[in-house]
């Protein structure tokens, strides 16, 4: 039985590649714990295990958690969640909590990317998503990294040495991969290819944002850990881009915050 004066809430972000959790204590307004695990076929079990493990490591159990909100691609398959809220609203809430002045959020995940426009007060004004095509997502970076025989952090470092980023013109990541093979065969430096791919993703995101993008801009999601992508976005948008602290967790943080608002009776 959950104690009524306890204000610990959990946010679960069940993404396409990983599941993240944040435990937030609303009474003290602080994150108690966060954790991540790989996604898999048996998501309900994986999410449950992550939840219990995180609670255990924090000295808690399920009875101590007042409310759980699930978000992300797999949000409807988290059986212990009380409600589900889309990741658009959750990322907005999470970013607003840590960076209240931000007006545009760019979130690039493993399989999709989003641009979220925020009003004063952290409300979502509007959003755009690319969830149909791997170009413009972290998946593209993974494919390129594999093709170039490096890991993702190394790919990000490589682009720093680029003198002339390659032009990647394919609208589809499969064709783009073929282009990269062609570029490597023609002796184009890997640094230029890496930078070219990052520019292609950044350009795709910028196209998605259109004219509605307003500073300050925050970059979040797993791909925000890639320094090269931050550079590419700043160059493409011609705006400074700030990275959310612990960018993989902003969705789960937002979900935990919204769980607290549900307990308090409003959203």
């Amino acid at each position: 039985m959950v104690q009524k004066n306890n204000m610990i809430c959990a946010g679960i972000d069940a993404g396409s590649r990983t599941i993240k959790i944040v435990l937030f204590d609303h009474a003290q307004s602080k994150v108690m714990a966060s954790a991540i695990t790989d996604q898999g076929v048996d998501q309900p079990r994986l999410a449950g295990e992550l939840y219990d493990r995180t609670l255990r490591e924090t000295g808690l159990d399920r009875t101590r958690v007042r409310r759980v909100v699930a978000t992300g691609y797999g949000r409807n398959r988290v059986p212990f969640a009380h409600t589900t809220i889309t990741e658009i609203t959750c990322h907005a809430c999470g970013v607003h909590h840590v960076m209240p002045d931000v007006r545009t959020i760019i979130e690039i995940g493993g399989q999709d990317s989003k641009v979220i426009l925020i009003e004063n007060g952290g409300r979502v004004r509007d959003f755009a998503m690319n969830d149909r095509c791997a170009a413009g997502t972290g998946r593209f970076l993974e494919i390129v990294a594999t093709r170039m025989g490096v890991d993702l952090p190394r790919l990000s470092e490589l682009s720093r040495d680029s003198r002339q980023p390659a032009i990647i013109s394919g609208t589809c990541v499969v064709f783009a991969e073929t282009e990269i093979v062609g570029l490597l065969a023609e002796g184009i430096p890997p640094a230029d290819i890496a930078a070219g791919v990052q520019n292609a993703i950044a350009t795709r995101v910028a196209t998605m944002a259109g004219r509605t993008l307003a500073p300050p801009v925050c970059f979040t999601g797993g791909v925000a850990l890639q320094v090269g992508m931050i550079r590419a976005l700043e160059n493409t948008l011609a705006l400074p881009v700030r990275v959310a602290p612990e960018p993989q967790f902003t969705g789960a943080l937002g979900a935990a915050l919204l769980a607290g608002r549900e307990v308090a009776g409003f959203r």
């Binding site: 691609y73 658009i88 609203t89 409300r123 979502v124 959003f127 998503m129 969830d131």
Partner: protein, 461 residues
């Protein structure tokens, strides 16, 4: 206190039908349980849809799903069949003004892959004919013309050209290359009159140069002559005026239905049935009189539900203005499942919803209607009308359904989105709906739910 009515699955309709039958349900000749369409016509998609539980909706569905059969019967009885393409609402007014002539839209075959869950193989057939998935789902009609297993081949094919979308134009041209002669007619790209140029008011608050109206009128004269030859009698003025009057009866009835549903505090009829009902306006689903009765039935049902506060989507549902029709009908169920309801629509044929002026010479009036086609003018004109309608309908969010492969969507959608945002600050989400969208349901659900969440959060401001 309002009640939320539940939409039924196909299985639930089986029992519901049995119960209605016991209660003395009266149906037209084409009536019957919905399931028979799955068994006899292979309309497998019906098993995935959710339906309105009323007899009026049953009649609507049976009417829609028996159209091909109706056309075949009509031909058997000596009627001439006209395949009107692209103009969405103008040529059928002419055709139905003549005795023994029916018009239908072969483009409507775009729903066949959805309804038959691609078991029809029409899209594959189109691909073997060189029209692949980079073209819009209307390409299904190519397959239908080839295999002749859906609608009967029309006696006359009429297709508008000019200010039309490229993919449709390409598909229609391919059809002609495959041996189906087409009577092409010009619809110029509508523009504003220039200073000093004679101007003409069109329905929907639009304007065009008189010269453009004259051009379209001459084109419609040509079509009228061709239809007259087909029918074996002239499409004279009295017939034309009568045809316009009758078409207006349908349009007026549809207007009443739309008002009864979209203006109600909750939604008395579901989005899916409203999409189909609106589509009836463009060619009356091959039976003008029956179409009128069905729309009247639906209006009666909607009004009754509104009065007794029985709603499919309750008063808390987010009011959504929907732009463009969907290739997969299941997407309309998703709107309500995500907490939304239709409060207004622009399914690309707003000119077929406006009343045809009856105080003007018939062809002149039809020319004005044809030029008022949202596809014939600029995307900005269309966006302006959408904003007007959104304001009237108190829309809280806008959904733009992108038709895969349609050439106008990638340009139009951002312009409409930007304009709606600028003018009204409403959240606008784009969703792309292929003919079978099952694999995309999670992604579509996220987009629709997110826009509902924004709409609800704005209510607390």
């Amino acid at each position: 206190m309002s009640a939320v009515l539940r939409q039924l699955t196909l299985e639930e309709w089986d029992s519901h039908y049995a119960e209605l039958a016991r209660q003395g349900l009266r149906e037209p000749a084409y009536g019957g349980p919905l399931r028979r369409h799955v068994e006899q016509e292979h309309d497998l998609r019906l098993s995935q849809l959710r339906f309105d539980p009323s007899p009026a909706a049953l009649r609507l569905w049976n009417f829609l799903l028996t159209e091909n059969h109706r056309l075949r019967i009509a031909r058997f009885h000596g009627d001439k069949l006209v395949g009107a393409m692209k103009d969405l609402g103008t040529v059928p007014v002419l055709a139905y003004a003549l005795p023994g002539v029916r018009a239908f839209y072969p483009d409507g075959a775009w729903w066949t892959p959805c309804l038959m869950e691609c078991s029809d193989r029409l899209l594959q057939q189109a691909e073997t004919l060189g029209i692949d998935a980079s073209f819009c789902p209307v390409r299904a009609m190519l397959g239908a013309f080839e295999n002749e297993q859906h609608f009967p081949l029309p006696d006359l094919l009429v297709c508008s050209a000019g200010a039309v979308c490229d993919d449709f134009s390409a598909i229609a041209q391919r059809l002609e290359h495959r041996g189906h002669p087409v009577l092409w007619w010009e619809i110029p790209r509508r523009r504003l009159p220039e200073p000093g140029e004679a101007s003409c008011a069109l329905p929907g608050g639009l304007f065009a140069p008189q010269a453009q109206v004259d051009c379209v009128r001459e084109e419609l004269e040509r079509i009228a002559v061709a239809l007259g030859v087909l029918a074996g009698c002239e499409l004279d003025l009295p017939r034309l005026q009568n045809g316009i009057r009758e078409a207006n009866r349908v349009r007026a009835q549809l207007g009443e239905l739309r008002h009864a549903v979209y203006a109600a505090p909750g939604s008395p009829l579901p989005a899916l049935e409203m999409l189909i009902a609106e589509m009836l306006a463009i060619h009356f689903c091959s039976d003008r009189e029956e179409c009128l009765e069905i729309l009247a039935d639906l209006t009666t049902e909607a009004r009754h539900r509104a009065q007794t506060r029985q709603f499919i989507a309750g008063e808390n549902a987010a009011r959504v203005f929907w732009i463009n029709p969907v290739a997969d009908l299941r997407a309309m169920n998703l709107l309500e499942a995500c907490g939304g309801r239709l409060c207004g629509t622009d399914f690309m044929f707003t000119h077929a919803l406006d009343l045809i002026p009856e105080d003007l010479p018939g062809l002149d009036a039809l020319a004005r209607i044809a030029l008022a086609d949202p596809m014939a003018g600029s995307a900005l004109d269309r966006a302006r009308r959408i904003v007007l309608e959104c304001r009237k309908s108190r829309a809280e969010a806008v959904v733009v359904s992108r038709i895969p492969g349609a050439s106008h969507c990638p340009w139009e959608t951002p312009l409409i989105q930007d304009f709606v945002r600028e003018q009204m600050g409403l959240p606008v989400v784009e969703v792309e709906i292929p003919p079978v969208c099952d694999a995309l349901i999670p992604a579509l659900r996220t987009r629709l739910q997110a826009v509902m969440e924004i709409a609800w959060s704005r209510r607390t401001i």
